[in-house]
Amino acid sequence: MLLKIEKRAEYSRVMVYLTPIIALALTVLSSVILFELLGVNPVEALFQFFVAPLDTKYEFSELFVKATPLMLCAIGLSVGFRANVWNIGAEGQLTMGAIVGSSLFIYFPETESVFLLPAMIIMGAIGGAAWAGIPAFLKTRFNANEILTSLMLVYVAILFLSVLVHGPWRDPQGFNFPESQTFSDSADMPILLSGTRLHFGTLLAFLAVLGAWMMMARTLIGFQVKVIGEAPRAGGYAGFSQKKIVWFTLLFGGALAGVAGLSEVSGPIDQVLPSISPGYGFTAIIVAFLGRLHPVGIFFASLLMALTYLGGETAQINLGLPVAVTGVFQGMVLFFLLASDVLVHYRFRLNTARKVAP
């Protein structure tokens, strides 16, 4: 081998910040090739993807609207990932949060109380947490792998949502469409900026970023999460309980995903539909990694991923590019990030082995 990979004595702090940028650069480079293959001018396509969607104030606000559920879900997931708890069912927890949260409005549609929305948010968090609590219980009690159980529950949650909107929750005045009645004002997320869809949920997402940052940097539970993730035996040695961390991270992640789901249905969607998320819960996995599992990183990563959603729509309208490009793009970012991560712990060296000639 001409190149050899050598372990660094200590991980490179520079690379921790540099690799997401390297990954992005590589992704842009690869998408140039992809656009060529699709027969589109790459410069034009990149413009449509990354610049055009931010043209106006409204479009700029849409960036935050799309970023909100990603941010909430990714913050929750990242705390779990740091503890090596692989909750990949945020999509299901988001769905359950939306269901449980909006049930308050569905069953008490006449309520005009100012407490309705806060109660819905809390119920949303509880719904998501409860749904995430199932894998937590199965893992701590039966050692069942949380990756598989949390994912299976995504399908179950989405099917359950479908049962509701096709059945008991269907709007009687809705011409038999599978959707609930639209939310009343007291069940709606307040709009922060008139003329846009920017809503209160975005503030909740910012709050989650700050709270998680504080928690991970300065509290004992954050420290425990990090220790259990990096060296579980050292955690046991210090007296930290692995089971407690499994419960904590899953409930935390589920609650935030639940809030994300509720803020979607009582925000931009304004009613319960059979499909309430274009896969935010899965894209949040990419966001979490791209943000280096750090709350501040996640803040920026979720904006970027939100941009790819908007860019995908713009490019579809203006260039006729398939929407699926967004998915490929998101997948590539994560791939390149994981690949360039090697630079954090290893360095490449030219192989300089010489042999003395006989």
């Binding site: 990090k226 060296a231 050292a234």
Partner: protein
Amino acid sequence: MSDSGGGTPQLELRGITKAYPGCLANDHINLKIMPGEIHALLGENGAGKSTLVKIIYGVLEADEGEIRWVGDLVSISNPHAARKIGIGMVFQHFSLFEAMTVAENIALGMSGRQDMKALENRIIEVSNSYGLPLEPHRQVHTLSVGEKQRIEIVRCLLQNPKLLIMDEPTSVLTPQEAEKMFETLRRLSSEGVSILYISHKLDEIKALCHKATILRGGQYISECDPTKETAKSLAEMMIGTDLRAPEHHQAVKGGAVRLKVRNLTIDSDVEFGVNLANINFEVRTGEILGIAGVAGNGQIELLSALSGETRSSDVEAIMLDGKSIARLNPKERRDLGLAFVPEDRLGHGSVPEMTLAENAFLSGYSRMDLMNSGFIDNGGTAHYAEDIVKKFDVRTPGISHTANSLSGGNLQKFIVGREVLQNPNVIIVAHPTWGVDAGAAAFIHQTLIDLAEAGAAVLVVSQDLDELFAISNRIAVISEGRLSVGRELREITIEEIGLLMGGTHGMGEPVETPHVA
């Protein structure tokens, strides 16, 4: 140089050099082994012995230098090539597959296809003829450490090696088992097989080897005839300076019992683990109790029962200063004054990728009071970490560097320091100087002795009998999950300990020492 023997060496190394980032593991090493010679490669931890033999066996590639095999220049690019020309190797950390049978393991260590039936017969034949009996169908994880080593040796012997490399073979054996292995090696030598014998145990090198090459800090120091050297002169060549043995201390007579373990019985939760059966002992203030034993005889289980990582349902099983701690978790035990230095420094005693400050916080946050109204007290933590670094001579550029950036000896000093500064009443130390350089080892031994003299009770679990004899007041032996009665140092010989390690139980009846209230 002692070239007087004449003839062509079986193996000759010239100028072997291998560099790792930030460290020159082998710096122009020369070595010559004649046919039938038992040649010691002597050096302390980190001297470059393992790197050198891995180069000979083709696991690593040298950056520079040449290898001659019976006079011919050879390039050994991988272990298959090494085996092909007749080099066999017995690894210190065995290259065995636990979930497979003895025969499968041996087949894997041989190149090409084997007929399993024929192989099984040969295993039985060869292993019996060399006094290393093996059952081909046994699963490896059911075997003792000594038996596992036999697999490695037999695996080499089946390929009729001209050179056998043995990396620290006796570190896992009882003295009696080691003596038996020496007989096998002497017989191989008389049959013309060269043996490269890696060790840092001077007595066995004097007893077994014809020649010795000494390495220190990656450099070739000298070649000598060990039978003509004294243990002291060998040690000086190996370490470079002459070392002061720790001053032996006398246990305070009639000190209060601090740690008392009664009828501790726990089923292992580790895969292929050992169950603890009816363990009894006590450690008094001012005393160092050593627990000897071959690895894998229940040490891991005993240590985790004492630290609280596994818990006993029997409330009376473990008492600290008269209080039951059997059901407490490690943090609660630590709050009551129990400190603990685990065997694995990286990943158990510390979090490898976390900074020294964070690693100080890891076990010290409660007893050192490093929380401030619900938040981590970063200032206090840094102060505590700096204190450890200063008082325990930890060589590091700073406390913001990660644990895995430290050398083994420095990290061990850091962990011991972290526990000692918590002012424990009882400290439990597992393999305190395993893989640690001589300087750090002496420092750690002295620290433990000082701590005992200051009134703590110290429990040391180690495989290294020299170490236990150097610092303990009493020694007990663990074997197959049972613990022998602790005996005063002057009442017990190495031979007796060896027998106990081999499972001749002088155990059973629990000790009832009169209580001194």
